[in-house]
């Protein structure tokens, strides 16, 4: 877990074998693409793709009162989570800023599986441990697991080919079982806006499973497509669209915060809700042609006053238009507001639009 050394997922050799271009991401050596980001993006929108997500962290929490304790640490209401279901939630600092966004899965009474962002494994684990109470056990099993996301309209068919006897759980549902004496976990969740699932196996079996999904029709996809897919449906990326300086309410994700529970940071969120927000994360889209908008490009009023910088941006492969997200003051955040994006000293007009950019027909 040292931060100075680049880490390899259990699938790293397989990626190279499959022709991937590897790049460092969040301290991990990861595939950015195999053939082309455009092709991989299209495969997920139209058929099915598979992503290595083994770099993400896996924690297990158990013990009487696990859900009650999570409600003091995480923003969503863990007590509303039924057995066999997943929930999107946030870990916040005392100022209500986002430390991490994560998904928690409830296997059984007082049995919780947490999946966190790769760059935040150590930070999250330390934060949870710092607040952990007697009677609860928290383990970081990130190195023991391989994880892959199979996403796209044909993901269900792909699953059926590998597991003819099993039914995929419903949206946000989970299932666990054993294959050849090894535990498998499947969750009907994802980060692409498509139907699909995330599959967890032992690190040792990861490559075998990945290859089986590829043989069943899933196209290997890299982080490049993962980023354009999630941006088209306005899913936030922690460290870009979410930050320790901004709350989930500002990010437009208040739906995932149970303000009637007492988690760290809740006071700030309640106050924001009462007093109103000063700025909000919005979706903006070019009104004409232009170079791909990218994170950190400046955002200006039509009068030339700087408002913010882009938190994310890309040339949308589905829409062939420049799409981006940025935090804007609320009076500039209304749908239809025109702004300018600065690209290498030239200004390109963009308009605040409704989220998401891309919607399934």
């Amino acid at each position: 877990m040292s931060a100075d050394k680049i880490q390899q997922t259990p699938l790293a050799d397989l990626h190279v074998e499959l022709g991937a271009k590897m790049i460092p991401f969040a301290g991990w050596n990861m595939p950015v693409q195999y053939t082309s980001i455009m092709d991989e993006h299209a495969a997920v929108r139209q058929a099915v793709g598979i992503f290595d997500i083994s770099h993400m962290g896996q924690f297990f929490l158990s013990g009487a009162g696990a859900e009650e304790w999570l409600n003091t640490i995480l923003a969503n209401d863990a007590k509303k989570l039924a057995i066999g279901e997943a929930q999107y939630t946030f870990m916040l600092n005392e100022q209500g800023g986002v430390i991490d966004d994560l998904i928690i899965y409830r296997f059984g009474d007082d049995q919780i599986f947490l999946v966190v962002n790769a760059s935040m494994i150590d930070v999250d684990f330390a934060w949870l441990n710092k607040h952990l109470v007697d009677g609860l056990t928290l383990t970081n099993e990130s190195d023991a697991w391989a994880a892959m996301a199979v996403q796209g309209p044909d993901a269900v068919a792909c699953y059926a080919k590998l597991f003819p006897g099993r039914t995929l759980p419903k949206r946000n549902g989970i299932d666990t079982w054993e294959e050849n004496g090894e535990k498998c976990i499947v969750c009907r969740t994802g980060y692409t806006g498509e139907d699909g699932f995330e599959f967890f196996s032992s690190a040792e079996s990861g490559s075998t499973w990945f290859k089986k999904f590829v043989d069943a029709g899933a196209k290997p996809c890299g982080l490049g497509a993962r980023d354009t897919l999630r941006l088209e449906v306005c899913y936030p990326l922690n460290g870009s669209d979410l930050s320790p300086e901004r709350t989930p309410l500002q990010a437009g994700l208040g739906f995932f915060c149970a303000l009637d529970t007492d988690f760290i940071g809740v006071d700030v969120l309640r106050k924001q809700k009462e007093e109103g927000l000063i700025e909000r994360l919005v979706a903006i889209k070019y009104t004409g042609k232009g170079p791909p908008p990218r994170a950190h490009y400046g955002v200006f009023t039509k009068d030339g006053e700087q408002l913010s910088e882009l938190s994310s941006g890309a040339m949308s492969p589905s829409l062939k238009e420049g799409v981006a997200m940025t935090y804007l003051p609320v009076d500039s955040a209304k749908i239809g507001t025109l702004v300018d994006i600065d690209v290498r000293g030239r200004r390109y007009e963009a308009k605040v639009v409704k989220k998401p950019f891309y919607k399934k027909d």
């Binding site: 053939t35 082309s36 980001i37 455009m38 170079p291 791909p292 040339m315």
Partner: protein, 126 residues
């Protein structure tokens, strides 16, 4: 990988084809293969005078923006407007329809000093 014989090449992976005093410039097959998915080309202004190695255009893939340099000193006399509507020509036909600009060369000796096809092939390990 295709490295046409009659072209000259730079270490920035641009090709140069000199005809008379005007050189046509683009990025190599190897470069487009590395970049993949070109989605935007920012062309140089016609009439612009530029020094050798001056950044005068930008080629953008989904993932990154890359500068394009003047391979030699001279004046930009034409830019490939086709790329504004079809930037993917740089991927599909890098050595012909995907040309980026034409430059009136100040000193033809500068072009002659660039890598030939054999040297460039060796440079990219092809």
């Amino acid at each position: 990988m295709s490295v046409p014989e009659n072209f000259r090449y730079t270490s920035d992976h641009e090709w140069v084809l000199l005809e008379g005093e005007v050189a046509t410039v683009g990025i190599t097959h190897h470069a487009q293969d590395e970049l993949t998915d070109i989605v935007f080309v920012e062309l140089p202004e016609v009439g612009r005078e530029c020094e050798t190695e001056e950044a005068i255009a930008v080629v953008e893939s989904v993932k990154a923006a890359s500068d394009i340099f003047a391979p030699v000193a001279g004046e930009i006399v034409e830019a490939n407007g086709e790329l504004e509507s079809d930037p993917a020509l740089v991927n599909t036909d890098p050595h012909a329809k995907g040309w980026i600009f034409k430059i009136k060369v100040s000193d033809p000796a500068e072009v002659a000093a660039l890598m030939d096809a054999a040297a460039y092939s060796e440079f990219i390990g092809a």
